[in-house]
């Protein structure tokens, strides 16, 4: 039954080494692919002996056969794979003996092959408990497509089925029997279902759900005998509690055992409880013989019954074989060996009978000093447990009924989760913040554990088909496919700049959940490969500086934007806390909350402007801009302003600028609310808040709208009953009228809603995206934003409010802080080598009784200025 036969005959051809693989299951096939990838199939004869009548298929998805998947669809072997690589596959011809002295393998057909290297991938066999009568007609195991075909055929004449074993495969088998229309019993010797994977609580939730589906569960009992009729067919099973279940069909699914018979017979050491003993390179006691997959007892003393560790072993041995071939060619010593197989993650996520079940890491809490965080809702069959270590790190967990968070949690295993563990198990909407997004995962997080594919590897692809083709991710158990979808771009390149593949919103999430307070750390850990360790760029530095500043209290950063490394991220305006003008001088805008100012303060501004010769102009935001200060004058000027009670106006920052107001009901005969009071309150609340772009606001005291609130990022208009809140307005080049978000709000309601709105904007907007553009872009537009901030549809509002509360609490005036810091002040010089010298290029000439820059000093070969529209001079 040879399907491919490029090397006729059975003798090894002269110089070509021969590799024999016994077993063509999932791991065997993966081994062949790894060999092909390394070019081994081109240099060696590869012979495969396979017991089953068909090439390797997806045993993990075996049950999907009953859901309509054909054996062909389950195949793991591309139609031309074997031919293309010249691999000889002998189907239905299992190996029967190994002679290690002559290095030959004999198959049932009599075929004998001499090998230079032999790989055993014989897998495992179903364990059938020693119950009298277990060989009766109607008794099956659940392992191969042939088993399923036989069960299907027999079930046609059966009404009741019984599965021995309430583990993973047992539940799958029970689901299959139920699908075939049988009344189905599950008999499990352990006190709960899936005892290996889930704990008692998880087992209870699972049992409840399984029973609700109409399956009958019997735990804590074992089968004692199988009763058969005169024709030898099953009629019932007797149990250890002396009860008896009538059944027409029995499926044994009580675990598997390594298939190590061939190895035993040829004298290779096997473990006490089975399994061919191998070292980290998966080599048996005989250096020419390897064992991989479920038949091997790995170097860590375990037999792995999952496919992912088997794949890992296949990779190790393929690397070994390839290296040996190289050594043979080049006569070199052991070349750079790949890391061996030292153990594997036993995490699993399954959909059993429609129930999500997942376990990962130390699911049973075996670690010393660990504590459980449990969420249990028996009513809806949801059970979630996280095992948390002594220092707060996530050690493992069990998820039953709702395993959506598995994709996020498993890669976080071993690290301290970015949010409190209880928030990770609470269902959405129960006061929990939004679930962690995939953007929070580090690049080396393993997304597909079947094929050991990292987030970075997945994100090197554009589409799901490409991911599956190039990385195999998502082609194993399939539990990661949803996650992969989230990691792929919707369309095109989305990255912030050449340094980061993420959008600003994604970087915000990374900074928030991973509590990263350093740009360099973010760049080196999350930047594009080629940008890591570099200097970053002028696009992402201020954007990330702003994100860190927005989140400062929450991520443990100093809220002061010139603190430490943050200083190097700021645009020159933020760095000198003033606005750079065309001749290299700066302008100064003190905060005048609500546009209300005492004559004394007005006089101080006038005196300062006069004494330093500053050009003075009233701004559109009801404050005063002082132009023409040299960098070395800034501290002296601010010393006087701060002494008079002024604070930074953040005119230089992507931050709240002003909250403009009309005079309101206090003076105006039309006014219905005190708009000035509210404007001052809002301005003082949000001052210093760093955002993706500048923020402007206004409060009008009546519907006449003299403060032009509807052209602001957030505008407030008084009504007889309270306040109406408008959002997303803009003046500028593309004006936009603001949209009404909510009406007739009390003071407290208004402030709470603005808190949420601003924090949601800061969290999700792109770099330099004003609220107007953001509202147009965001999916669902205003309705979605209203759902989130008014109706709390994402369960985010508590967190948004907490972030704003932290901002308000931690606000400090940047100029007062700077003046108190001599080291910081030392940077306000024109020249490092002449700290007292003014910059001779910053001079002024008279204009309308004030000054203007003397641009003749800047003359010289000045170049035409490039703009997006073209060239202007």
């Amino acid at each position: 039954m040879t399907t491919t036969h490029p090397h006729p005959g059975t003798a090894a051809p002269g110089a070509t080494p021969t590799l024999v693989l016994i077993g063509h299951g999932m791991v065997g096939q993966r081994f062949l692919e790894e060999l092909a990838d390394r070019g081994v199939t081109g240099r060696a004869r590869v012979v495969v002996l396979c017991e089953e009548p068909r090439p390797a298929y997806d045993r993990v998805q075996l049950t999907s056969y009953f859901a309509g998947r054909t054996p062909d669809e389950l195949s793991l072997v591309d139609p031309d794979f074997l031919a293309r690589h010249g691999i000889e596959l002998h189907l239905g011809d299992p190996a029967t003996a190994i002679d290690r002295t002559t290095r030959t393998v004999t198959a049932r057909s009599g075929l004998t092959v001499r090998y230079d290297a032999l790989v055993l991938a014989t897998g495992s066999y179903p364990f059938v408990p020693p119950v009298p009568g277990s060989d009766s007609k109607g008794c099956f195991v659940y392992r191969t497509i042939e088993d399923l075909l036989a069960i299907e055929e027999y079930a046609e004449h059966a009404r009741t089925g019984l599965v021995v074993g309430g583990g993973l495969l047992g539940l799958e088998a029970a689901g299959a029997l139920k699908g075939l229309g049988l009344r189905t019993h599950i008999v499990e010797f352990a006190p709960r279902l899936m005892a290996l994977q889930v704990d008692e609580g998880g087992g209870r939730a699972l049992r409840r759900t399984v029973e609700e589906m109409g399956l009958e569960v019997h735990t804590g009992v074992g089968g004692t005998e199988i009763v058969a009729d005169e024709a030898g067919a099953v009629t019932a099973m007797g149990l250890s509690d002396d009860s008896r279940i009538e059944t027409d069909l029995v499926v044994f699914s009580a675990g598997v055992r390594p298939r190590d018979q061939l190895a035993r017979e040829c004298g290779l050491p096997v473990g006490q409880r089975g399994g061919i003993i191998v070292d980290e390179q998966c080599r048996t006691d005989d250096p020419a013989v390897y064992a991989i997959g479920e038949c091997a007892l790995a170097a860590d003393g375990r037999v792995y019954g999952l496919v992912a560790p088997g794949y890992d072993m296949a990779r190790v041995v393929a690397g070994e074989v390839a290296a040996q071939l190289d050594d043979a060619v080049h006569g070199g010593p052991d070349a750079a060996r790949q890391p061996g197989f030292t153990g594997a993650d036993l995490s699993t996520k399954l959909k059993l009978l429609g129930v999500d079940v997942a376990s990962f890491g130390d699911a049973h809490g075996a670690t010393d000093g660990c504590l459980d965080v449990v969420y249990s809702d028996a009513r809806s069959g949801v059970y979630k447990k996280l095992v948390i270590g002594a220092t707060g790190e996530l050690l493992g967990g069990v998820l039953v009924g709702d395993a959506d968070s598995y994709g996020m949690l498993r890669p976080l295993t071993g690290s301290v989760p970015p949010v409190a563990p209880e928030q990770l198990v609470l269902p959405a909407g129960a006061g929990a913040p939004a679930a962690l997004g995939p953007e929070a995962l580090p690049g080396d997080a393993v997304i597909c554990s079947c094929h050991n594919v990292t987030k970075d590897a997945i994100q090197s692809c554009e589409t799901l088909p490409e991911v599956k083709r190039c990385t195999k991710a998502g082609t194993g158990c399939g539990s990661c496919v949803k996650m992969i979808g989230k990691l792929l771009p919707d369309s095109g390149e989305q990255g912030l700049c050449a340094c980061f593949p993420h959008t600003r919103a994604e970087l915000y999430e990374i900074v928030r959940v991973r509590r990263i307070a350093s740009y360099a750390e973010l760049l080196d850990a999350h930047g594009r490969e080629e940008a890591r360790g570099g200097e970053g760029c002028e696009v992402c530095k201020p954007a990330i500086g702003s994100v860190i500043a927005s989140l400062a209290p929450a991520v443990g950063a100093d809220g002061y934007v010139l603190q430490g490394e943050q200083a190097a991220l700021q645009d020159t305006n933020d760095h000198f806390l003033a606005n750079l003008q065309k001749n290299g001088s700066y302008s100064i805008v003190p905060r005048i909350p609500g546009g209300e100012i005492t004559p004394e303060k007005l006089i101080v501004i006038g005196e300062v402007a006069r004494d330093f010769g500053l050009y003075t102009k009233i701004t559109g935001g009801q404050r005063i801009d002082l132009f023409g200060a040299r960098v070395d004058q800034l501290p002296v000027i601010w010393d006087r302003l701060v002494a008079a009670g002024f604070e930074s106006g953040h005119a230089y920052g992507k931050a709240l600028r002003t909250v403009k107001s009309c005079v309101g009901e206090t003076w105006c005969r039309y006014g219905v609310q005190d708009s000035v009071r509210m404007a001052i309150e809002l301005e003082l609340r949000y001052r210093g808040l760093r955002a993706p772009h500048k923020l402007k606001s206004a409060v009008s005291g009546c519907a006449r709208e003299c403060a032009e609130a509807q052209s602001k990022d957030f505008g407030v208009i008084a009504t007889a009953n309270g306040w109406n809140l408008y959002v997303g307005g803009n003046g500028g080049a593309s004006p936009r009228h603001a949209d009404l978000l909510a009406q007739d709000l009390s003071d407290a309601e208004l402030i709470r809603l603005i808190d949420r709105f601003l924090m949601f904007y800061i969290r999700t907007a792109d770099r330099l995206e004003r609220t107007a553009a953001w509202l147009e872009r965001i999916e669902g537009g205003l309705d979605h934003v209203r759902d989130v901030v008014v109706h709390d549809s994402l369960g985010l509002c508590d967190e948004l409010e907490a972030l704003m509360a932290a901002h308000v609490t931690h606000y400090r005036d940047e100029w007062a802080e700077t003046l108190a810091d001599p080291e910081r002040l030392a940077r306000f010089v024109s020249f490092v080598n002449a700290p007292g010298a003014p910059d001779p290029s910053v001079r002024f000439v008279p204009e309308r009784d004030q000054v203007k820059p003397d641009l003749t000093l800047l003359a010289g070969p000045t170049l035409p200025v490039r703009t997006l529209e073209g060239t202007s001079v």
Binding site: E535, C537, F831, N833, L863
Partner: protein
């Protein structure tokens, strides 16, 4: 990624990640002489400072993450303003640059070449750090 110095680089070799804490940073003036401008501690990684040169022109000095010091002219050729020392630094294809704070054109810190306009460049100056523990480290520089 490492920052590679080219033959024309105006950088003072220094161990990556740690520029010398002692000594004097010197810059090669347009007239060919060396001018002491500051101590290494006066420089902040990722930011620049301006220095006044004897002929009245200005230089912008930068310290990068790898501990290298670079110097180019402080004058932004697109506006005439002496502001390049106040720009944000970055690296593109492994080469450090500064972006003008006025109109954001980028200049290679090693050569002074404008990355956004091949016809524009600013002078780049040699830099060395002299000190008790380090012998003079020569940067070739493109003298103008």
């Amino acid at each position: 990624m490492t920052l590679t110095a080219t033959a024309t680089t105006a950088t003072a070799p220094a161990p990556a990640g740690a520029h010398p804490k002692t000594g004097t940073v010197e810059i090669r003036c347009p007239d060919g002489g060396w001018l002491a401008v500051c101590g290494p501690d006066d420089l902040t990684p990722g930011r620049g400072v301006a220095a006044l040169l004897p002929d009245g022109s200005q230089a912008a000095l930068f310290l990068d993450r790898a501990g290298r010091i670079h110097a180019i002219s402080n004058r932004d050729p697109f506006t005439g303003a002496q502001v390049l020392s106040r720009g944000l630094t970055g690296s593109a294809a492994g080469r450090p640059f500064v972006a003008s704070p006025l109109l954001k054109q980028r200049f290679d810190l090693a050569t002074g070449d404008c990355l956004d306009d091949p016809e524009v460049s600013v002078p780049a100056y040699g830099v060395r750090v002299r000190g008790p523990e380090r012998k003079a480290a020569q940067g070739a520089g493109r003298a103008h």
